[in-house]
């Protein structure tokens, strides 16, 4: 197991580096560079050339990448070309916000999906099943942005500000800046709509997957045996069947993190949440290469680490699965 863990951890490094290299090249293929955004209406070709030289943007791509990598190995994530702000500082301010949003979104998804999937699987081809699947289909069909706008109109506008429309309140003790509002209830109020907007689509996917998996598991011999032994249906499903049905679901949940990060960009922009999503999209639109690299690096790391955790969860769910054999 230890060897397996070490091997997987070592695999993270080339994976993340490859992602950053691909994005590095892609960003520089898009028309425009940060100097255009930086100079704005002060743009002259003469000043632009000098600025590009000062930021090393006139060097060959591979040299730029190696310089960035070299600084990264020393813990220097660089500074935003546009604002001069250290990338790592801004990323660390925003990361907890997006992490909270992603975790809560997944929580919303699980809270919706599990009961729906269980009910649908134990009562297949009934109204409960049809209802759960129809709702799942609707959930996966509605884009996060559209659902977010609907939630805004209902809870912020329609219900006279029942939930705040935008912004963020930090959890007590987590304020990263000089001026910010903290409060558990305030935080919940601000994260609820974005989490629902993001989570509903994931819930739909999970519902369908867990239902399908459960339907297969409940027909297996050991479940039949459990029933034959006189165990209640609830115990049979929740204690014996569900655990095995969760293995593919856990895999998909790990992969869903990627979609959640992408969805977070849209939802954070809509609700003006100061997370990594808005950080990333602003960086891409402004061609702020350093910020983009920081965003991509952190996103890639998050995705890879979460999937690593997902892999390790398998052996907990199914003791038959062992690693490093």
């Amino acid at each position: 197991m230890r060897v397996y863990v070490l091997r997987r951890l070592l695999q993270v490094v080339p994976t993340v580096l490859m992602i950053t290299l691909v994005v590095f090249v892609m960003m520089r293929s898009i028309p425009g560079d940060p100097v255009v955004a930086l100079l704005g209406d002060a743009y002259t070709e003469e000043d632009a050339v000098k600025l590009r030289q000062s930021y090393g943007l006139d060097r060959p791509l591979i040299v730029q990448y190696l310089i960035w990598l070299g600084k990264l190995l020393q813990g220097d994530w660089g500074a935003s070309i546009l604002s001069g702000r250290p990338v790592l500082q801004d990323v660390l301010i925003r990361l907890p916000v997006t992490l909270e949003l992603i975790v809560l979104s997944m929580g919303v998804a699980i809270i919706i999906a599990m009961p729906a999937a269980i009910i649908a699987s134990v009562r297949p081809n009934t109204w409960s099943d049809y209802t759960a699947m129809t709702v799942a289909l609707a959930g996966v069909s509605i884009p996060e942005f559209f659902l977010g706008v609907l939630l805004l109109l209902v809870f912020s506008v329609g219900l006279q500000g029942a939930l705040p429309s935008s912004g963020w309140v930090y959890l007590p003790g987590t304020c990263p800046t000089v001026v910010c509002i903290t409060g558990a209830w305030g935080n919940l109020g601000h994260v609820l709509m974005p989490a629902i907007a993001l989570g509903v689509g994931r819930a739909a996917i999970l519902t369908r997957l867990v239902r399908a998996s459960l339907l297969e598991i409940v027909r297996t011999e050991y479940v039949t045996t459990a029933r034959a032994k006189g165990l209640g249906e609830g115990r049979v499903v929740l204690k014996h069947a569900l655990k095995n049905a969760l293995i593919p679901a856990v895999t998909v949940m790990g992969l869903q993190v990627g979609f959640l990060i992408g969805g977070a960009i849209v939802v954070e922009t809509l609700f003006a949440v100061p997370g990594l999503g808005t950080f990333g999209i602003d960086a891409i639109l402004a061609r702020d290469y350093q910020q983009v690299q920081g965003f991509v690096l952190l996103t890639a790391l998050t995705f890879v680490v979460i999937n690593l955790i997902v892999d390790f969860t398998y052996s907990f769910l199914d003791p038959r699965i062992r690693y490093g054999a």
Binding site: L39, Y43, S83, R85
Partner: protein, 535 residues
């Protein structure tokens, strides 16, 4: 017993008067205190006021910083750090007397040396300020005594005060002490201590993508001001979210609101203050006039653009082929002015030249046929626009449909703002674009967008007569003669279509009913020092 009742009655009356007057302001009397919550639709680029692009930065600079003069909505100049000024008889020297009680937020004095330092800093090519070209007429800045500074000009310049007041940020004074102590990167990042102005508010914190907070500067030189304790600016990009936040009372002021949603805001918030005025920003369907003959960007060796190099094609497409009324009706729901002249309707010395470009598709087709375009040889061009404002795409779509009526195919290319800037500023390949560039307080401020030597003169016309017009206009000190020159220039530009205006681009600000004291002056002057909250 009667006396006791009498005195009780008097006492009760007095008590009632005291109770009622305590905390109840006289109607219209400003109240001190409170936090103004402002929403921006775009991010602040950075906080080095002399170099950062974007209105969002400018509106912060106008409140954290101060300059020599400001301009009122009716065009009058009022002193800021300067209490008075004089122009010499030969129109070459401005002498400013500074107020004696103006301080920077770091406690240092705003004196003549600081003014000289700030202007020299702006004029220094190493600073790379977008305002440098505005100071071309300035020969030097001299300190006569600690409270008297002279700006000496190379030639008379009729718009010196306009420029100091409102070209971009206007002049923003920098503290020499803070500028020397902190680096450019410190200012850009918004490190408190580095971003030092002499305005009514001092910077507390800027967290990019989250908020900017500025607090009352207790030693502001105007006694009693500002009324507000604090201004908090948040970035809310989506107009639907802005509307929701405004309706829910989470924000007090939207600094720049999308025109296509104004009617919705009015319907949702009947008591909201909708602040707007005559347009000062042009909405263009610009056409490229020349291309580099040797294919090298910005080459001085120019050839006519293969399509719009011919004036007849420009007139057919841009003049007679575009129904400006229809564009305004569809894109702006009638809330803009169809306009041909390069100077928008609200800009000084503007002239209505709409009669020079009436919508006439028959004439447009005839002109195209004259050049050789028709069913046998259809004209096709690319219409570029960017994603900065959704209205650009709407206008492009309407123009596309209008082009189809005259047998022309316009293929829309939608890019993001940086790509658009990259293409236009670097003399890249484009045919026509829809954009609204920036707001113009005077025709003179348009010079750097349309002179032959300017990088921002995207059509790349090589007509030096335009340069000559601008130069004469800027130097003409007689207002009557200046207006005549302005008329000539605008008619000339409409005739040559180096600029192809469609309409004005309207500007809206939305304020809660409780926000009082704000003086609307378009994008040029956004000041919160006299704002108070009537709660």
């Amino acid at each position: 017993m009667y006396c006791r009742r009498f005195f009780f009655g008097i006492a009760a009356l007095v008590g009632l008067i005291v109770l009622l007057s305590d905390g109840v302001a006289v109607a219209g009397e400003p109240r001190r205190g409170g936090t103004l919550r402002v929403a921006y639709g775009n991010e602040i680029a950075h906080l080095d006021f002399h170099t950062a692009p974007g209105y969002e930065m400018m509106w912060v600079a106008m409140n954290v910083g101060c300059g020599l003069v400001n301009i009122t909505p009716d065009g009058k100049f009022v002193g800021d750090a300067a209490e008075s000024w004089q122009l010499s008889p030969d129109n070459l020297t401005y002498t400013f007397k500074l107020r004696k009680n103006v301080l920077f937020h770091d406690g240092t004095k705003v004196d003549a040396a600081a003014v000289k330092f700030s202007i020299d800093h702006l004029m220094d090519p190493a600073t790379k300020s977008g305002m440098r070209s505005f100071y071309d007429p300035v020969h030097s800045v001299e300190v006569l005594d600690p409270h008297t500074v002279q700006i000496r000009l190379k030639q008379p310049y009729a718009f010196m005060l306009h420029m100091l007041a409102a070209y971009r940020t206007g002049l923003i004074l920098y503290s020499p002490t803070a500028t020397q102590k902190y680096s450019l990167e410190d200012r850009k990042q918004g490190k408190p201590g580095a971003v030092v102005g002499c305005g009514p508010f001092r910077l507390v914190e800027w967290v990019k993508g989250s908020h900017l907070v500025m607090d009352r500067f207790g030693k502001y030189f105007q006694p009693g001001l500002p009324y507000l304790d604090r201004v908090v600016i948040r970035v809310i990009k989506d107009p639907v979210t802005q509307m929701a936040a405004f309706k829910a009372g989470e924000i007090d002021f939207i600094a720049s609101f999308s025109p296509e949603h104004v009617d919705t805001v009015k319907a949702q918030n009947p008591n909201a203050q909708i602040l707007t005025g005559k347009e000062t920003t042009p909405m263009l369907a610009a056409m490229k006039v020349t291309v580099p003959r040797d294919s090298k960007p910005m080459s001085k060796d120019r050839a006519p653009h293969p399509i719009f190099g011919d004036l007849r094609v420009r007139k057919a497409v841009g003049c007679y082929g575009i129904d400006r009324q229809e564009v305004v009706k569809i894109a702006f729901k009638g809330q803009a002015t169809p306009w041909v002249g390069m100077n928008p309707p609200g800009t000084l010395d503007t002239v209505d030249v709409n009669h020079m470009c009436p919508y006439d598709p028959v004439r447009a087709k005839a002109m195209l046929a004259e050049v050789g375009y028709g069913p046998q040889k259809p004209l096709t061009f690319e219409l570029m626009t960017n994603t900065e404002k959704s209205v650009f795409n709407v206008i492009a779509t309407v123009i596309k449909e209008q082009m189809a009526r005259i047998g022309v195919t316009a293929n829309i290319r939608l890019v993001d703002k940086v790509s658009w800037m990259n293409t236009t500023l670097q003399d890249g390949p484009w045919d026509m674009y829809v954009e609204d560039l920036l707001s113009l307080i005077t025709l003179d401020s348009n010079g750097y967008l349309s002179n032959t030597t300017s990088t921002w003169s995207h059509p790349r016309h090589a007509d030096t007569k335009v340069d000559d017009y601008y130069a004469r206009y800027a130097r003409e000190m007689d207002p009557g003669k200046r207006r005549a020159l302005a008329k000539e220039l605008q008619e000339y530009m409409a005739d040559k279509l180096y600029w192809n205006n469609i309409s004005g681009s309207p500007f809206f600000m939305i304020a809660q009913p409780r926000m009082k004291g704000y003086v609307y002056n378009a994008e040029f002057e956004v000041h919160y020092h006299k704002v108070w909250l009537d709660k």
